[in-house]
């Protein structure tokens, strides 16, 4: 690796998107979700901050139903979602031993 490589490009080993970065993270997925969303309260919320604030993009809007889909297996276990949106996010830890497994931390 030389020192004069230029700014990161799409194929750069220096990742940019959350999707690419999540590939680098090691998980031991549990079978059941540790996250629940109260869909009615979610629908009633205008800001829907979970859709943009989650560092792992775990929450996604189902355009057809207006409901919130939860990719719980990608969760990095920070807790930001329930602090940000306590009205409709119920977040617990995955069971002991499951979930994210940082290799560096």
């Amino acid at each position: 690796m030389s020192d004069d490589q230029v700014v990161p490009t799409e194929n750069s080993p220096l990742k940019e998107t959350i999707e690419d970065k999540l590939f680098l993270v090691k998980y031991k997925p549990d079978k059941d979700s540790h996250i629940e969303v109260d869909q009615e309260k979610f629908k009633a919320d205008t800001l829907k901050a979970v859709l943009f604030i989650c560092p792992a993009k775990v929450y996604e809007l189902n355009e057809e139903t207006g409901e919130c889909m939860v990719a719980f297996e990608n969760c990095l276990e920070c807790g930001t979602c329930y602090v940000s949106c306590p009205e409709y996010v119920v977040w617990k830890y995955p069971r002991g031993g499951f979930g994210v497994q940082y290799r560096f931390g």
């Binding site: 690796m1 030389s2 020192d3 490589q5 230029v6 700014v7 990161p8 080993p13 220096l14 990742k15 940019e16 998107t17 959350i18 690419d20 970065k21 999540l22 680098l24 993270v25 031991k28 800001l47 901050a49 943009f52 604030i53 989650c54 560092p55 792992a56 993009k57 990095l76 276990e77 920070c78 807790g79 930001t80 602090v83 940000s84 306590p86 617990k92 830890y93 995955p94 069971r95 002991g96 031993g97 979930g99 994210v100 497994q101 940082y102 290799r103 560096f104 931390g105």
Partner: protein, 435 residues
């Protein structure tokens, strides 16, 4: 529940707070078990990466000879970013090259915590990973044990030390804290990116095992209430950003977008050029400070470290040593309580006194008004970097204008954009907030 399952003390969490408490108790012959939800200690733990080690050095003298630490920090840099410029305070000294290396080391927590836990086990504590405490067992208003997942087993003890970190669900169950406030909680994202050791040493002007810590404010986090960091490890960098959840929400920001903006800033891009992403991580930081501390004890329960909100969120960014100090003090409190046979709140409340008398709460108290002040004066981190770098840019721009004219123009601009009086007021307020 059989009698042999009763411990003197159960510690929830094998981070710096829990492990420091455990080793202190084990050395005193107290029967202690540490329950950790990660498959191994460190599996869930994220930190920027500067471990402050005054306490660790007392617990495990000369730890650096064996511990998986990365570099000792001899170079500290604090800077403010505007959109295209950087203003920095930069300090380095070879004076930190001797033991105990100014008690400042870059570490990667997944590696370090695992090693620390092994030392604690050797000292006689039992460490049980892969075990999450789902709730406290109560007898009236007294904590008498914990319930664990998976399995739903119940373990009894005289006293629980919560070293469960920032989420602190058990502290909430015990009624010691209220719901988390997004204004006092930061979300941080971090990447570990690898570079050859030689490149790091050349790029950051480091000899051998020396390391540096850059703390970066202003446009590093798009003018929100937070900061960015770049720390050198042996053959990788830790780079990240953090801001309050309140601000992220208000500005509709995604933490990774802020991190990418930071990595692409002209002052930062050359530092990360050619590096390879190794891991991405996210974690919260409790930044409420002295004004928002929870109650720290109740009957049969003591809170330590991040679970107790013990973070010095000023420019010092210290949490690891406060966690370790509070772990040791919690253990000392338990040892004294055991001698008396009294684990009531009244007996355990000497813990708060110990913290008050030490650097832990003295430092939190010193900076108690800083975050409130910065929150109430968002222009400081949002506007000043642009104004000041604009002035410096004009000042250093080469032209055929006589220097006297340039100086006059810069001063005139300064008076117009900030005003002597306003900057005087702001500087005075900053000084007051830091006293």
């Amino acid at each position: 529940m059989s009698e042999e399952e009763k411990f003197d003390c159960i510690i929830v969490g094998a981070g710096p707070a829990g492990l420091s408490a455990a080793i202190t108790l084990a050395k005193a012959g107290v029967e202690v078990a540490v329950l950790e939800r990660g498959e191994y200690p460190g599996a869930k733990n994220v930190m920027g990466g500067i471990l402050f080690t005054t306490i660790l050095d007392k617990l495990l003298p000369d730890f650096w000879e064996k511990a998986p630490v990365e570099r000792h920090i001899t170079h500290r840099r604090f800077s403010l970013l505007s959109k295209d410029s950087e203003i920095a305070l930069d300090f380095k000294t070879a004076g930190y090259n001797e033991p105990p290396y100014n008690h400042t080391w870059s570490v990667l927590r997944a590696k370090f915590d695992r090693w620390f836990a092994e030392q604690v086990e050797e000292a006689g504590a039992m460490i049980i990973p892969g075990m999450m405490v789902s709730e406290l067992l109560m007898d009236g208003d007294r904590v008498v044990g914990v319930k664990t997942e998976p399995g739903g087993d119940e373990l009894n003890c005289d006293v629980v030390i919560s070293a469960e970190g920032v989420n602190s669900f058990l502290a909430e169950q015990a009624g010691l804290r209220k719901q988390h406030d997004p204004a006092h909680m930061a979300v941080a994202v971090k990447e570990v990116i690898s570079l050859p050791q030689e490149t790091i040493e050349d790029r950051f002007h480091l000899n051998d095992s020396e390391g540096c810590a850059y703390e970066i404010f202003g446009q590093a986090v798009q003018g929100t209430f937070g900061s960015g960091f770049v720390y050198t490890n042996k053959d990788s960098l830790s780079i990240g950003v953090g801001s309050t959840i309140h601000d992220m929400k208000r500005h509709k920001l995604n933490p990774n977008d802020v991190l990418e903006g930071f990595k692409k800033h002209p002052a930062i891009a050359p530092l990360v050029r050619g590096a390879e992403s190794q891991e991405y991580a996210a974690h919260m930081i409790p930044e409420g400070g002295f004004h928002h501390l929870p109650k720290l004890t109740t009957n049969g329960l003591i809170l330590t470290g991040d679970a107790a909100g013990l973070i010095n969120a000023s420019h010092y960014h210290e949490g690891s040593n406060l966690a370790m100090a509070s772990g040791v003090m919690a253990a000392e409190t338990v040892i004294a309580a055991k001698e008396k046979g009294d684990f009531s709140d009244a007996s355990l409340s000497t813990y708060r006194q110990k913290l008050d008398d030490s650097f832990v709460l003295k430092d939190l108290k010193k900076f108690q008004n800083l975050s409130k002040f910065l929150n109430e004066n968002p222009h400081l981190l949002r506007d000043y970097p642009d104004i000041i770098s604009g002035m410096l840019k004009d000042y250093f721009t080469i032209s055929e204008k006589p220097k006297a004219v340039i100086e006059k123009e810069v001063m005139a601009k300064f008076k117009k954009e900030i005003g002597i009086w306003n900057i005087g007021k702001d500087l005075y307020k900053i000084w007051r907030a830091m006293r």
